[in-house]
Symmetry: C2
Subunit: 129 residues, 2 copies
Amino acid sequence: MSFYENLKFDVNGLIPAIVQEQQTGRVLMMAWMNRASLEKTIESGKTHFWSRSRQKFWMKGETSGHTQTVKDIAFDCDGDTLLIQVDQIGTACHEGYKSCFFRSVGSDGDEVKTTEPQLVSPGDVYGKS
Amino acid sequence: MSFYENLKFDVNGLIPAIVQEQQTGRVLMMAWMNRASLEKTIESGKTHFWSRSRQKFWMKGETSGHTQTVKDIAFDCDGDTLLIQVDQIGTACHEGYKSCFFRSVGSDGDEVKTTEPQLVSPGDVYGKS
């Protein structure tokens, strides 16, 4: 069975893509792809997504320069989630952190703690993709 | 702002949860949580999810014994995805692989390759959660 035949896009034609930094294992972000953005990702070797809020096709780093070079694309047993290994230039998060997952819940199950340093001023990347 | 106030559940009251093995950095699976399963996960220290296909609350490993002990719960900048670090007992995948992401697309963008060994006979875990 070919790659695309294994995949299940949802009712909106989308599939979630987890992006992991290959070198460190750090999970950087999760975003959504439609078939066109996945095809473009494979063809170009740079991650492309579909923004649900903006209803727009976008390349990661197209305005910030913080692009992701694809090293591997895996999919799960149900065929409904992608796991993409990348080399990340700069920060993945538009708030200036390496990873979008820079906050954790404390052991009390309520308080929030920031778990990694802010590498770039948000003004330099905010609103950029 | 408290933990739950940072989170955005979707129109079905669900949020995707990426599960990563803390010790190795291996991404094991992605599943969905509603607020009740997240609260139960925090309270019990074992991952609990909401099955969209079965419309059912479930604990990972409740029938297979392959439970996940929670070490950390992070959330992303948009508050719409969780990243949970765990200690995994046995295999995360019901097909007998350590990770559900055991297949990748080849460099031709079409052929599929299996990238990790099958550790358990699927008969031992298939249909179990």
